[in-house]
């Protein structure tokens, strides 16, 4: 291998007293695709900004394209392509103007510009939109355009910060096709992601957590290291098995998938001991499993482990807690939600999946009585969302994307505020708060201010606040966004426990793999519900045997497109 493109040695970065990156060392070779994988707050963005020479490391050293990022930052900046998180182009400029601007400030020879622009835009499927303003493109198209703008000067190294965050599965595949081409052209790529499955697309990955490296290596090697520690448990009655697993200190984590299948990660290379009909068989570790195994916390002392999941009651013939018929919402000419019909039974978990802008949040706001539908009817907990929104809001719990907690209040004060705001009787306050905290798996964090809590703890506190008034229906809008797998698994177990109590749950997520935790799925695209049902049924509907959630989603998108073209 010739000269490495990136040489990072013991990189660290501090903001004030907070150490956001610590002791990260790695090399990236020419033409290599290097993935930096970790949850929000792991230090991915900080690391990428250091590589792009737009942030000075506080410790360690780093050479990019042979230049020191401290001393020769301008030379590094001039030669790389760097795509920051979110939308990094100018929304008031057209596609062509954005590309021309990128070319001009990056010294692209005018003679080469036309040919490169045509080729890149064709590859991104944007050639028909040259005259359209960037702000009027879909999220996926904006990301692809940003990538084109960063390839226009043909940089030897591309640095991409969460390129596919919140992008629909189709655009995500197209984005990766462009990246594959860039790799074929000999460019090195360093990208960050919180989607574990994307790590498999890289030659080597660096797993980051809390600013520290957990593991580094080729995905296949990392997976084989985790071999023998990941098991699939099949049982007819998962309830007792789950209780056994949560009592076992050797178990790092376990997740119930659809079809009453359990997946278990172990501390050592031995299957969990199980009684009854439960069978554990070794499973092929996924990147998520690798991360879970690598970030295993020390075993919890006896007695402080989370409460065992309760027995799931037999489904009763209780009336549905959500009934929506032909619900639609327009904003001007834009149809945010279009003709959605669905129902949720008590104790059922419905997952709404879709890219950013698909209408998930708008639909949830309508069902919460926060936004009136412009057409259709919906009843939640027996009340009409448009006419009786007060009654609806008293019976639901809503946890928004940004966890609307008060950062300067303590966890207990937040709970107290929400309990009072929802009208919990004074005499019951104390007991109810204790109940909600226990249900959400909060332990000793009561007196700490929210701003000092970790993302995962905040997430559970937000859940406690949303259910302190014992709602019949719980709406969770992207509750697991950017949280590490271990905490996400734990959160899903809490949701399952709530459902077992008879609460109807609607969850939105853009982690497609989380779909397997839901009883039924609703796939959303451009405001429409393009599929609804259990994952197994949806897979069968497409005539597939086994398929990933992404395949299923893509299958329904293709079907929807074909139907629209025919119409």
């Amino acid at each position: 291998m010739s000269q490495p493109v990136v040489v990072a040695e013991a990189l660290g970065r501090r903001y004030g007293r907070r150490q956001v990156l610590d002791g990260v060392s790695f090399e990236v070779g020419p033409g290599e695709v290097f993935g930096v994988v970790g949850p929000d707050g792991a230090g991915k963005t900080t690391l990428l900004q250091i590589l792009a020479a737009i942030l000075r490391p506080t410790t360690g050293s780093c050479r990019v394209l042979g230049e020191d990022v401290r001393r020769a930052s301008e030379r590094v900046q001039a030669r790389i392509g760097y795509m920051s998180q979110g939308f990094s182009l100018y929304d008031k400029l057209t596609v062509a103007e954005n590309i021309a601007f990128a070319a001009d400030i990056r010294d692209v020879p005018p003679a080469a510009l036309a040919e490169r622009r045509t080729r890149l835009l064709a590859m991104a499927g944007l050639e028909r939109f040259e005259a359209r303003r960037e702000g009027q493109l879909s999220g996926g198209m904006r990301k692809k355009l940003a990538l084109c703008a960063n390839l226009i000067h043909e940089p030897p190294l591309l640095i991409l910060d969460e390129p596919s965050l919140g992008v629909d599965p189709l655009s995500r595949r197209e984005l990766w096709r462009i990246l594959d081409q860039a790799k074929a052209d000999g460019r090195s790529i360093v990208f960050a992601t919180s989607y574990m499955d994307e790590a498999d697309a890289s030659d080597r990955v660096l797993l980051l957590r809390d600013g520290r490296p957990l593991a580094i290596g080729a995905p296949a090697d990392l997976r084989s290291q985790a071999k023998g520690r990941v098991y699939r448990v099949v049982t007819a009655d998962p309830g007792p098995t789950e209780r056994q697993l949560s009592a076992n200190p050797e178990v790092i984590s376990f997740q119930r998938r659809a079809g009453d299948e359990l997946r278990v990660q172990m501390r050592s290379q031995a299957p969990p001991r199980l009684s009854g009909d439960a069978r554990a068989e070794a499973a092929e570790p996924s990147m998520e499993d690798v991360f879970t195994v690598a970030s295993a916390p020390p075993p919890a002392p006896v007695g402080t482990a989370e409460p065992a999941p309760p027995e799931r009651p037999a489904t009763t013939a209780a009336p549905d807690v959500i009934v929506a018929e032909g619900v639609a919402r327009r904003f001007g000419d834009f149809k945010a939600v279009d003709d959605v019909t669905l129902s949720v039974a008590p104790g059922e978990v419905l997952g709404l999946l879709g890219p950013n802008g698909a209408g998930k949040t708008t639909l949830i706001r309508i069902l919460c009585g926060l936004l009136a539908p412009s057409a259709g009817r919906a009843r939640v907990a027996g009340f009409d969302v448009a006419g009786q929104s007060e009654a609806v809001r008293a019976r639901i719990g809503y946890m928004s994307q940004r966890f609307s907690l008060y950062p300067d209040l303590s966890a207990r004060e937040n709970l107290l505020f929400f309990a009072r705001a929802y009208g919990v009787p004074r005499a019951e306050l104390k007991a109810r708060i204790a109940w909600a905290a226990a249900r959400a798996g909060l332990e000793g964090e009561g007196e700490e201010t929210v701003s000092s809590l970790s993302g995962a703890t905040r997430q559970r506190l937000a859940l406690a606040c949303a259910m302190v008034h014992r709602p019949q229906v719980l709406f969770l809008d992207e509750p697991t966004s950017g949280v590490d797998p271990l905490s996400r698994f734990r959160f899903w177990r809490l949701i399952a426990a709530l459902a077992a109590d008879g609460v109807g749950v609607v969850v939105t997520t853009h982690y497609l793999e989380e779909a397997t935790f839901c009883d039924r799925l609703g796939l959303m695209m451009d405001g429409r519900l393009i599929a609804l049902g259990p994952l197994a049924d949806l897979t069968a509907e497409l005539g597939l045997e086994t398929a990933t959630v992404e395949d299923v989603f893509l299958g329904f998108i293709a079907r929807e497109r074909a139907a629209r073209r025919a119409a």
């Binding site: 737009i54 301008e74 900046q77 790389i80 920051s84 400030i105």
Partner: protein
Amino acid sequence: MKLRRLLAFSRKEVIEISRDRFTIGVALFMPVMMLFLFVYGITLDVENAPLMVVDHDKSAASRELQARFVNSGYFMLKAAPEDERAAEHALMRGETRAALFIPKGFARRLGRGDGAPVQFVVDGTYASTAAILSAYGRAILYAFPGELRLPVQPEVRVWYNPQLRSRNFIVPGLFAVILMAFPPLLTALAVSREKELGTIAQIYASPLTRGEFIAGKLLPYAGIAFLELLIVVIGGLVWFQVPVRGSLTLLLAVGLLYVVCTVSIGLLVSTLVRTQLAAMLTALIVTLMPAFLFSGFIYPIFTMPAGFQIYASAFPTRYFLELSRGIVLRGAGLRELWPNVAVLAAYTVVVFAIAAWRFRKRIA
């Protein structure tokens, strides 16, 4: 510095501005609105001040004195109550600004050539108005019934603005204030918007140098600011008919220097803050407030305590304001005004240099 990169950056800025209604509104509409509001709204002239007269003499002479007050145009007769207390109450309630008390025997004593006392009371709540009203009242009284022959024969002339039209004074002052109010605000917002939206990361990770960045932002915004200058100058000179005694070319030339200076202040502000909100507040505090209060726009600097005179000298508005009034009102030229031009030029260079030095192609 590469011209192609700089121009590309400026061109991008111009396209964005031309497609943003808010920026165009603030850039072109607000200055015109401010010009009209201030010229019509702020008038330092005192006309038709309400006056109460308590006339106990009821003679031809006392009626003639009343008539002189009203006919001067500075006062209008609010009421003529029978007793003093009614007038005192009116003063207390703020219904009248001044009161004239004429005692019994006024005409008789006047005829005898004895001193005929009258009392003229002015409400001193608004000190500057009170000073003007008492001067007007005194002038009317001294000239009654005929011109007084004093041993010294003063010949007082008001130069440069003989009719003391306050708009002749306000309009050239507004040139300075308006160009300090909006261009820095727009510029600071433009840079902090890029920081807030994250588009600036693309600029950091590119060959564009910081000089090119600063100059590329300065060019279009200085252009807009100069357009603002043209608009308010034309508005002031044509609509409000303020005569320009000096050279219009000189006014526009120093105006160009001034807008480069104010836009540089906006750039400097944008290097100090991260968000648009902070940019807006900082810009208002460092530009608009001192421009109104400590530039001599309304309150003259030479009457301020020494400390505040130094404070006022720290902002460029006073220098351009003196230039603007000097050229428009006094017809002064470079021969008289060069020190101010020199200070303004030095100021601009320093602010631009600090802004360029502060701007880093780094996240933190």
